[in-house]
Subunit: 695 residues, 2 copies
Amino acid sequence: MEQNLSLFYGLSFLTAALAFAYAVYLYLWVKKQPTKNAKIQEVAALIKQGANTFMRREYLILAKFAGVAAVIIFILLPSPIWSGNILSNVEMTVAYILGTALSAVAGKIGIMVATHSNSRAAEAAKKGIEPAFLVGFRGGAVMGLLVVGCSLLGVAAVLMVVGDTSIILGFSFGASSLALFAKAGGGIFTKTADVSADLTGKVELGIPEDDPRNPAVIADNVGDNVGDVAGMGADLFDSNVAAMASALVIAQSLSGGEYNNISMVFCYAILGLLSSIIGIANARIGRNGNPTHALNMSTYVTTGIFLVLTAIATAVFDGFSWRIWGASTVGLIVGVIIGITTDYFTDDSKPIVRKVAHASQSGPAFTVLSGVSYGFISALPAMVGIAISALLAYKICEPMGEGYAIFGISMAAVGMLSIVGMIISNDAYGPIVDNARGLAEMGNLGEETIRTADELDSAGNTVKAVTKGFSIGAAGLTVISLLGAFMSEANESLAEAGKELITGFDIMEPTVFFGILIGAAIPAVFSAMLILGVDKNAQRMVGEIHRQFNSIPGLREGKKGAKPEYGKCIDIATSGALKELIPAGLMSILSTMVVGFIGGPKAIGGFLLGNIVSGLLLALFMSNAGGLWDNSKKYVESGAEGGKGSEAHKAAVIGDTVGDPFKDTAGPSINTQITVVSLVSSLMSSIFVAISLFS
Amino acid sequence: MEQNLSLFYGLSFLTAALAFAYAVYLYLWVKKQPTKNAKIQEVAALIKQGANTFMRREYLILAKFAGVAAVIIFILLPSPIWSGNILSNVEMTVAYILGTALSAVAGKIGIMVATHSNSRAAEAAKKGIEPAFLVGFRGGAVMGLLVVGCSLLGVAAVLMVVGDTSIILGFSFGASSLALFAKAGGGIFTKTADVSADLTGKVELGIPEDDPRNPAVIADNVGDNVGDVAGMGADLFDSNVAAMASALVIAQSLSGGEYNNISMVFCYAILGLLSSIIGIANARIGRNGNPTHALNMSTYVTTGIFLVLTAIATAVFDGFSWRIWGASTVGLIVGVIIGITTDYFTDDSKPIVRKVAHASQSGPAFTVLSGVSYGFISALPAMVGIAISALLAYKICEPMGEGYAIFGISMAAVGMLSIVGMIISNDAYGPIVDNARGLAEMGNLGEETIRTADELDSAGNTVKAVTKGFSIGAAGLTVISLLGAFMSEANESLAEAGKELITGFDIMEPTVFFGILIGAAIPAVFSAMLILGVDKNAQRMVGEIHRQFNSIPGLREGKKGAKPEYGKCIDIATSGALKELIPAGLMSILSTMVVGFIGGPKAIGGFLLGNIVSGLLLALFMSNAGGLWDNSKKYVESGAEGGKGSEAHKAAVIGDTVGDPFKDTAGPSINTQITVVSLVSSLMSSIFVAISLFS
């Protein structure tokens, strides 16, 4: 047992409790805010109801999936049940279920708060930007606090009870399963609705974005919540847990030396959450202040607090290392830098967005081509950033002893994710104010209020780019350390089987190379399947919208009493999303198994590498290109290049439509796909060691 | 000295001479075909003149570039001139210049023949499909024979004179330099013209594709020649030489054993050329036959002949191995399979093209999204094919002794490229009949003739997909073996420096991982720069076309005597192409050097791997998505989904415009970029060994 470990378990529970208490306080504060407008209340209720429909169906399917997975886990993992140690299998199964459950609870409550906050933020926007900002931000912060609190609580509880880090991988796999459903399923839902609403409303009929005549408009608003609040929360819950899990697996393999590695992992996670709480409590926007500035400022403040607190902890506690502090700091700083470069490519006050807007003058093909190109280029700084932070973290921690170099990389990931509570708060703020903007329009709150809401919404979009860059960067480092965790796990199985241990994955070995090439293709196929899912689903929904416009008398003209059937659109989006997502998820898991059974653990090492490399590239490309097109369109709508209604605007709208599933469905789901594949590999390592064709 | 080696040198020269003689015969045959129509002669002369303008300018810039490169090579390679052996540096420099020169000659003559063949093919189309097919095919075959003859001649001559395979890398680098200019520069040229002609002609004015009123129409036809004939020829010259070079470098490092490795490499190359000659001589299309079938048939016949001939050689010659025959056969068969799967994604009689055409009914965003998605999915079979062929070739040859496994992979690449003469013939056929179609339209040869030319053109497009899949697959295997060649070269330098040798590149080492991440970003940035180059250049040309339509009286209405200034468009395409290409080329080379100086040879190993993996993925994606959009558009034009003029058609045209630079500029240039980077790495290995920050 490491020194002080029980202290850090205790502190983990205490900090999680503090986060929950603060979340409850913020929730009550939000609920206290007034909401009077009847029209807004009506629409907000529809959104809430739609979101609940989706979540209920999603969790139902997930429960079935998790049930099957739990049985398989119980039979096979960490080692087949007939090989003896049944207790471990029970622990693993329970940990898996706990992982899905905690993530589900966080998502569910987050959605609840977000759908309460949107109408209140709309009302608050009547009074000015400051109160509306606070409602939006605090509503989002509830989600941030819950997610990080649940992940810290879950990981600490599981490890304290079972004492074996490899069981944490089961917990992490539970989180990943849910994230796959929430992020990819929510992503398909939200873009089905968004794309259909835009195509039929803005393009075909020329009515505004949130016009209540459009049958897809409620589904669109629901989508913002299920995709960006619940989906993104589950995604970052997953990343955060995976980063801790891989750090803990490696830490345990190193334990017994002079350092308190496991304690360090918990201490950094605790201080990250604490810093986020302080950052959230101090987020302020001056009267008439700039919301983008306020959001970014709180991120920087949280970063600073975290660096100071971890430095103090390193000085105070025995067995802590300044080298680990250095690695974590490198991760955090590189995260901020990746965020800033992402911003350069997606902010409409910077040249790239304007160039794409200008290219739209020559037609939609040029919008698409220039967006694709800058999207590809935008991947470079982040890839370089991740490469450098991995190299530096490795080199900083290498002198600590054998195996510490990879531990350093995992702590860089923990560092990058330390402020995830703040990141989620900023991210969940986005859909709340986006909804608020829609509600202000539907509730006829007047031009001034809509403008205020618009400003808040635009800040949400800008900040989203930064937080997305951040979360992809963190995922990059996490999966590198998951590769290390996979090697530890495989070696444990190899040692048990009396086989030669793996010391690394040499790309000149044919099985490794074989794995790399196939692994690299998987994220491309995965994202293609999701995009096609949106495509198919949106075609269904467009058909339904056309049907409603043609068959409901007076709807097209907006006659009083002619109401669209919003529920039908929500149904289509829901059932389609879940139907389209399952093949993509299965494809990823099955291809991992095929490669493992053909080439054994070495091929899997290569497979994970290929997956990481092409996954990072595509995730960055898709997220950034999508943000770029979105903001180019907004830039044109602000009056540039001919403004609304011009040919350039039509082209920019097409670019935005292409970008929608890129940035909100495929791009952010790739993270989850990589994590799922990494965890499946680690969990199944003993089976691949036992059975494979070529290894 | 290996047994029989001088015999194979002799046979190499003999076979090359035979290829040249047959090429001359075919050239004279083509020239004998009638060309009477005055209008066609006039336009054909304009195309020829335009092509010559571009080639002259390109070669002028290339000469400057090659001059600078030659000086650098002379000073630094294979080892700095001050370190002693000046003779090697002279040899390397001469080999480099020879590589550029032979490729340039092949390209120049190929263009000459192609621009002679187009008008004659148009005339022949009046008489029917059979004579027109023969003119197009034989014109293309001249290029195929020249390219393969020159590469065999060059490699054999250089090795015979200097006896050191690493000098062949210099020859190969010369070929790559030229390919970079020819393929990427030609690719920018051709798409600038094509995109501008389409946008102003088909979209804005609604006039046919090859309407002589359009000032860009001649540039468009010139583009087909410089991009697809000269560019593609240089590209495959480069791949072919690189495959031989890497096989030879590895073969030399293995020599002294029981096998005649170098002889085997030459023997396979000789028999490949011989098989292609036989295949070309027997290519026939029945009266009213199917040109696609005829082209594919000749590929299969050539493949069969090659397999039989190499089997006989293996049985006859001492020191030949059936295992090597197996590896080469695996390569060739997988090449054919990749070609067939590519066809599945791009042939308009298959479901994928039709699905994308159907998606166009919902608007251009759906055309783009579905094309992108299927493009990504289409990469999977080829990646799996390359992965399996590398794994099998490795495993087949592993028992031959240490180092033979990698040699097996390089011979799989040689096998895949063995029929390259046939591939180039099929590929160069495409632009000739494409031009012929345009000439038939401009020369008013009548509906029937245009239909015949159309049929030939469509076969060219279909076959192109197959040959492209083939050449990307071969490039994949080649670069894997170039990785092996790099390791040999680096180890030679490490041994000289008294440092520890490299036994592989372990992805868990931080410098390797660092290299991988950055290497993976480079093909994305490279292709983005080329696409943006087309984008910028096309915007210039569209401006010029608008100027001409507005300022030349009667041009828009097609009044007699109102002639567009074709030359201005050719000038814009030419100067723009060369201007846009240089930064992309420099970026690739400089990033290689930065990574090498930071992380040393191990980082370069990772860098090459990252480059290969993401390069293959993107090249396959772009080539296939582009072909898919092109054929979807043609499918809609054939009357499906509303046919010409429908909304679906407009959307399909936008998809095609997006796909144009994908498939003809960026996609096929990535091969060359990877080869260039691989060769720079091998050539500079001694310098990276001497100077690096972290290695």
